[in-house]
Symmetry: C2
Subunit: 468 residues, 2 copies
């Protein structure tokens, strides 16, 4: 390297950046991100879920055919000999692969990890090409809608822990209800997924645009208008929309539609038991883009106008989304019904940050508790010996990495790092077996303002007592 | 997807596996891995380091020319339009890129993340293509060897927390000492890195093989033998080897060699202050493969014969390694001296597992604290309402996801999940506002063996009291 001048020159000239749509995490941001992870993990464990961490890339054929129109967003690894691989697009398909590979019949599992999509990034709104997902899924054959209702509770609990529960609404809908409507109004069977995908854009685009997409996909204008009337139905809770749909005899004659209604009636009862009825909104315009959902679908949304006042961007949208996918693991030869939710960590992070939670995180960013310093000749090895004792006792400590640091510099470093106390070694005091312990931030008239001498061999217990 | 029969059939026939050299993490394994992460993180924070998380891939040109012969092991992303990217090979080059990009002059930072190398995997010995690294680096201009000595202390402290401190030795050496020797014996300047890379193989290969590689790289047999004599020098602590090298006037006449000796003498003094002299071994055969080291290099090694008795594999080797690299960030136009260490998480994991620590982890694998169950008609919504109260109080709880589960099945689930207590809802008791709280695992003659009735509205405080 040292000899490769060409590389050196090229490197020195290049633009220093992370790849498009990616970012570094550090400082208070990483503290807040870890707080989101910790909140989610605590809720998942409360619901008896176990952790799973899969590789960042999978065999290309594992991902093939699972994502419909979105497959073009998958990152492939270059063919360098050996297997062909792609970066994971979500945590769900790797989970289904793991279930089948290990022939697992029943599990509650959670995963937190980065996923990759070659999408148009919008970093200020938390949309990146490399971003975190945080998923919990319940796999197994149970009674209808019982695990589904528990997942809704998990969503609310995570936002409760983050102090955001009052700001979210969970839109719910059912694929069989949507498919029933499409069939009844006359959408050909082979166009149902494409039309569903158009409906899904209603939260971002006006009806006229969505209708245009439907017509481009070969739908009659009259049929599209018929869909348009149905997908405008929505209401807080589940009961009111349920009552309205039950009265539509044209729809209830459809088998899929009827099965969907029965599921939604169970969900209504279970959410009442959880006292969560007012957190959901039954919304027929919710369709979800992914192909693999089979029954209940849901999306937690929140409106934070402060995040898009400067532009014409739509609101931040979904902060958690998921649904039931009963056939995905069956594609890998091990058919297990699943329901799960994925939290959009980067979007939740963006919201918390916009709310000024970052300020809070910053104020508690203490790098160490104790700073070890010395007068006069530097006493480096004495500072080292003392720091090593503190570290061995689990106390965070730092000292100047200079042989003879100046006194004001040392006090400055202690302050900048957020030290709660300093230990000052002086040659005279050391000869009599003592060092000075000084608490920082005391009032000028505090009797301990100038610190006090403690026996060298008692430093660790004295500091521990102080920090408690 | 549901309509794409070809994809379905292809998926059903494919071999279900993770890509070569990768693995899934779950169960007790993930618990032990997280314990390693938590131990390392605690030590890093104790030394006042801050976290940094960089993207999994970097611009290809960021990695170019930084890894010498190992560059062939880098995974590239396919060119799908836009920037050319590669998966990160380590956490060090991304750190140097971050330093330069943000014009940072001084920082202690740590990173834990997956890195990628297209090497020949040996999973049983913890060598994978996707593996975790766990790095801490001190960047900044300080007095010689002061940060270097602190990094050595960090290494020992991490293994102390993991209960492995007695099993490791930290080999130390110095690039300027090695380069001085190479120059003095007559290695041409442009062959020094290549010969150094051959020396680095001495821990895995016999001298005859290493010598052969040197000859193939164009070195005279006599010069190689001269090197062979020097690189066999090693000894516990630093003093004895230091004394031996000081007497060699042929070597001490070389400027590089002399500078290296001065550094090692400082390290000797600082490790004495830390009382860590007996943890290190000055070993002239340590060369480290990477190009970018400029001064002190080190490698924590451990011998676990139980891990390779069945084969002719060499011992597990390095569990942590690093050194000083003062020119790397300068390649990105921001020259800052750095010293750091990288822990081999997967290898440490393999050692802990082989030692049977897995058993310990398994015995504490409790999925939930409380199981909510019911007699007779199932009482699903009552179980749900009770569980929701427990969850809201932060208590981990589960119940059967069936409408009418059988009683023995419910007790079985409580036991398998590791519940400490069950809450039993019966219709009669519920009418009088009570549920039964039963502690599991009590002796047959315990007066509370059959549990006791508690008021429905007091369940949460009663359970909390019990779990404390």
């Amino acid at each position: 390297m040292a000899t490769n001048l060409a590389v050196r020159e090229k490197t020195a000239r290049m633009q220093l950046k992370t790849p498009k749509g990616t970012r570094d995490w550090t400082g208070p941001d990483i503290g807040m991100r870890d707080r989101i992870f910790a909140s989610a993990t605590e809720v998942f464990r409360r619901h008896a879920a176990v952790a799973l961490d899969t590789p960042v890339f999978e065999l290309k054929e594992i991902l093939a055919g699972k994502y419909g129109e979105d497959a073009r967003l998958i990152y492939d690894l270059q063919d360098q000999g050996g297997e062909l691989c792609s970066l994971r697009y979500d945590l769900t398909v790797p989970f289904a692969r793991w279930l089948a590979m290990n022939k697992i019949q029943q599990v509650k599992r959670y995963s937190i990890g980065k996923v990759y999509r070659r999408d148009q990034p919008a970093i200020s709104r938390g949309r990146l090409r490399e971003f975190y997902q945080c998923d919990v899924d319940f796999a197994g054959t149970f009674d209808p809608m019982v695990p589904d209702a528990e997942i809704i509770s998990v969503i609310v609990e995570v936002f409760e822990m983050l102090g955001l529960a009052d700001d979210i609404t969970i839109k719910v809908n059912h694929r069989q209800i949507l498919d029933g409507i499409f069939t009844v109004v006359g959408v050909p069977n082979n166009k149902i997924r494409a039309i569903s995908s158009a409906v899904d854009k209603l939260d971002k685009s006006p009806w006229a645009e969505v209708k245009k997409e439907m017509e481009e996909k070969g739908l009659d204008s009259a049929v599209a208008d018929d869909i348009g009337r149905y997908v405008q139905i929505n209401g807080r809770g589940i009961s009111s929309v349920l009552d309205q749909l039950r009265c539509d005899s044209r729809l209830t004659a459809n088998k899929d539609f009827k099965a969907g209604l029965e599921d939604m009636d169970l969900l209504r009862a279970y959410l009442e038991a959880f006292q969560l009825s007012d957190k959901v909104s039954f919304d027929l315009s919710l369709a979800r883009g992914l192909d693999y959902y089979t029954a209940l679908i849901f999306e937690a949304t929140t409106k934070f106008p402060d995040l898009h006042t400067k532009s014409n961007d739509p609101p931040i949208g979904s902060v958690a989304a998921g649904g039931r996918y009963d056939n995905l693991s069956g594609m890998f030869g091990n058919s297990i019904p699943c329901v799960g939710v994925s939290f959009g960590i980067d979007r939740i992070f963006t919201i918390l940050k916009a709310r000024g939670e970052n300020g809070k995180a910053q104020s508690v960013a203490r790098r160490f508790d104790v700073y070890v310093m010395a007068f006069g000749s530097g006493l480096l090895t004495e500072r080292m010996a003392l720091a090593r004792e503190l570290w061995a006792a689990g106390i965070s400590a730092e000292y100047s990495l200079k042989v003879k640091p100046k006194l004001p510099q040392q006090f400055k470093s202690a302050e900048v790092g957020g030290a709660r106390a300093v230990l000052i070694i002086g040659e005279e005091e050391l000869k009599s077996g003592k060092v000075r312990l000084k608490i920082l931030g005391l009032a000028d008239d505090d009797p301990e303002k100038d610190g006090r001498l403690v026996a060298r061999q008692n430093v660790v217990p004295e500091v521990k007592k102080l920090l408690q």
